[in-house]
């Protein structure tokens, strides 16, 4: 599982993730120090993508846990299959089994529903566990997570303790809707993902929109960088850039200056609120275009 840093960097490039320099180091450290990695950054900078890319790098399964407010152990760890349990109770009762045997039967692995966290520690090969938007879950869940991440074992009252067969690579992402506890932060390596610079973004466009013109890609990257500098409510992320690039590519544009009309109209790919749309007027978009193209 422990790869060298250069190997990770190479493989990241091979799976199509255009990484900034330091992220490869962070991923390498995860292997070396066996710590989870906490990724923070604006929405849309590709935090989730890191988890996916890491799974591809190691060639393992990606298990994803999307956090939300009210997420509890039942949804994250395990759950009993109650319907089957009820059926089994009735069925066994009718053939006259005694209560103890029934109990033993219905609380066996057969009736256990694996949820992401349990699944992640019961694989033969260590998977990548992506805990997405951990800040959306509540403090209690965070505390529970902390325990799981340090012991990698789970106790199920009816079954006993389940120890990890393989320690997963854990990537957590956070958007900052709630502040995470110091304990969780300390437990993790940290990496802050910024919006990519123009070169990197152009590279991302080239990788993700195959066939696109290199000049157009770099124009798009520069244009998006300029738009991001405006005072917007929702700053366009990398995904938006890619949508836009794909749109322009689909319109068979080769140069942004070519059709400023189409450019302005397709900017709905970047500007996702009415307010932002109103702010980036035709004139402004042309002025930005003049600066970047």
């Amino acid at each position: 599982m422990t790869l060298k840093r250069e190997e990770i960097a190479d493989k990241l490039a091979a799976v199509g993730y255009v990484a900034d320099h330091d992220i490869a180091t962070a991923l390498w450290l995860m292997g070396l120090l066996k710590r989870p990695l906490l990724l923070e950054g604006e929405a849309g900078v590709g935090k989730t993508e890191v988890g996916k890319a890491l799974a591809a790098v190691h060639g393992t399964e990606l298990i994803r846990l999307q956090c939300y407010e009210g997420l509890d152990q039942n949804a994250a760890l395990y759950e009993w299959n109650y319907q089957r349990q009820l059926l089994a109770i009735k069925a066994r009762e009718s053939i006259g089994e005694n209560a103890d045997t029934i109990e033993e039967h219905i609380f066996s692995e057969k009736f256990l529903l694996e949820r992401p966290l349990l699944a992640a520690i019961r694989r033969d090969r260590p998977p990548v566990l992506l805990i997405d938007e951990v800040d959306r879950a509540d403090e209690e869940f965070e505390a529970f997570l902390l325990e799981l991440l340090s012991d990698f074992q789970v106790s199920i009252p009816e079954l006993g303790t389940i120890k990890a067969t393989a320690i997963p690579c854990v990537v957590l992402t956070s958007n900052g809707t709630r502040e995470l506890s110091d304990a969780l932060r300390r437990r993790c390596l940290y990496h802050y993902i910024d919006f990519p610079d123009v070169d990197r973004e152009a590279k991302i466009i080239l990788t993700r929109v195959p066939g696109i013109d290199a000049t157009l890609a770099s124009q798009i990257a520069r244009m998006v960088a300029a738009v991001r500098k405006e005072d917007l409510r929702k700053v366009p992320g990398v995904a938006e850039t890619l949508d836009w690039a794909a749109t322009l590519f689909g319109l068979e544009m080769h140069d942004l200056r070519q059709e400023s009309e189409a450019l302005y109209e397709t900017m709905i790919c970047l500007l996702k609120t009415q307010e932002d749309r109103a702010r980036v007027t035709r004139e402004l978009s042309e002025r930005l275009l003049g600066k970047v193209a």
């Binding site: 840093r5 923070e40 009210g70 759950e79 009993w80 029934i102 809707t177 502040e179 300390r186 940290y190």
Partner: protein, 417 residues
């Protein structure tokens, strides 16, 4: 960079090393001075508010003695990933790293190690990540941005008019603030009130959110003894989350006489609510919860009163709200947050700006309460243009010129929250 760091990882085999490290092919360890230096780096970071424990230092040793550490270029990002825990750490790390290892920016380094952030109690605090350092303390960005907006309208309805009216009326209703004993009594009252408010608000949530779902797990468990016949049902109700309160206190000249009183109220609120944040603004916005968390009430209030002593200038409610929306709102506001603005609404900035910012704020939070000390005044109607612009976004607009009026507020709060 290269020179220093290679020195750090120069082999000195005679020293005791973490046994895990012996497995490394190079089987190197760090020299004692190098380790001391690393510990010193850890200390410097700690002084700068990084939270670093023994485990981190040990892992740093692992990194430095790993075969990959031959590349000096790797060490900085590796230590950065290890030692940083928040975005502000992340932003400051390189500077501290350079200052410590490369001796760059020596002057700055002294400054850096002097700014030890006071330890906070994490349970109470909404930690200040995601807000650039400069936005946390006093300085904020309102001023810089105000350059573009015209200085202030010279139109007659300024703050001064409000201030003079205020002065004549406050002399009567808040004069008890002057006597130290009364000050203490006021504070006690305010904090008790805040506590009552909190309890009421929480209970209110409880009654309303009676999501009664069947809990199958417990139901089945309980009914095993009945042979699986579900006789005894277990129910779930939604967990009650306490409300979060954010108070924005206007400390401008026109509010002068009320400020002292509300500062006490603020302290009570921050003390009583599990999740509360307080801000003070006049021409600028300052985040004051940390100072309010001082256990010593008098000292906290004094500290804050000093901060709140407005710089006589106008009130830029709009600008201050803009700062709040931009730098703080994301961190301190969630869907269960009530925002309480205490201000007389005399704004020297553009009313349209205030309206715009109020609209943004409205979208983020659950409720906006605007307490206006002037309402206590008999013939008051919200004429100030700023107030006019803000009113459409306010859920509760109420008087707050003395404790009685605050106490009278409670039932309303319960109703709207």
């Amino acid at each position: 960079m290269t020179g220093n760091l290679q020195e750090v990882s120069r082999p000195h085999a005679d020293l005791g090393v973490d046994p895990r490290l012996r497995k490394d092919q190079r089987s190197e360890s760090l020299s004692a001075p190098a380790r001391r230096r690393l510990a010193g780096f850890g200390r410097t970071l700690r002084n700068n508010g990084f939270r670093i424990g023994l485990a981190e230092t040990r892992d740093a040793l692992t990194i430095l003695t790993s075969p990959a550490a031959i590349q000096p270029a790797l060490i900085r990002p590796a230590l950065r990933a290890l030692f940083c825990a928040t975005h502000s750490d992340w932003d400051r790390f390189n500077e501290i790293f350079d200052a410590f290892w490369l001796g760059r920016n020596m002057r700055q380094r002294q400054v850096l190690s002097g700014t030890a952030s006071a330890p906070h109690s994490p349970a109470r605090r909404l930690v200040e990540a995601h807000v650039p350092q400069e936005a946390l303390g006093l300085p904020d960005h309102a001023e810089r941005r105000s350059d573009s907006n015209a200085e202030m309208p010279a139109d007659g309805r300024g703050r001064r008019e409000g201030a003079s009216r205020t002065e004549s009326l406050t002399a009567t209703d808040l004069r008890h603030i002057v006597d130290p004993d009364d000050i203490a009594a006021t504070h006690a009252l305010a904090s008790r009130l805040a506590r009552i408010m909190r309890v009421r608000l929480v209970r209110r949530e409880q009654i309303r959110r009676r999501g009664r779902r069947l809990d199958l797990r417990h139901t089945i468990h309980r009914n095993i003894s009945h042979g699986g016949t579900l006789l005894d049902l277990a129910w779930r109700r939604r967990k009650i989350k306490p409300l979060r309160l954010v108070v924005l206190l206007d400390a401008s000249g026109s509010m002068n006489l009320y400020t002292a009183f509300f500062v006490r109220f603020l302290h009570g609120v921050v003390d009583a609510f599990r999740e509360a944040e307080a801000f003070v603004f006049h021409t600028r916005l300052a985040h004051v919860s940390p100072s309010l968390r001082d256990r010593d009430v008098t000292r906290a209030v004094e500290k804050l009163s000093l901060m709140a002593q407005g710089i006589g200038g106008g009130t830029r409610i709009g600008e201050s709200l803009a700062t709040f929306n931009r730098w703080h709102a994301r961190r301190v506001i969630n869907s269960r947050t009530a925002v309480m603005i205490v201000s007389d609404g005399y704004d020297t900035g553009e009313p349209s700006k205030l309206g715009e910012e109020m609209r943004r704020l409205r979208r983020r939070c659950k409720r906006i309460i605007w307490l206006n000390p002037l309402i206590g005044w008999r013939d008051y109607s919200p004429q100030a243009r700023g107030m006019q612009a803000a009113l459409p976004y306010v859920d509760l607009f109420a008087p707050a010129h003395n404790l009685a009026s605050l106490a009278a507020l409670e039932p309303y709060l319960v109703r709207i929250l």
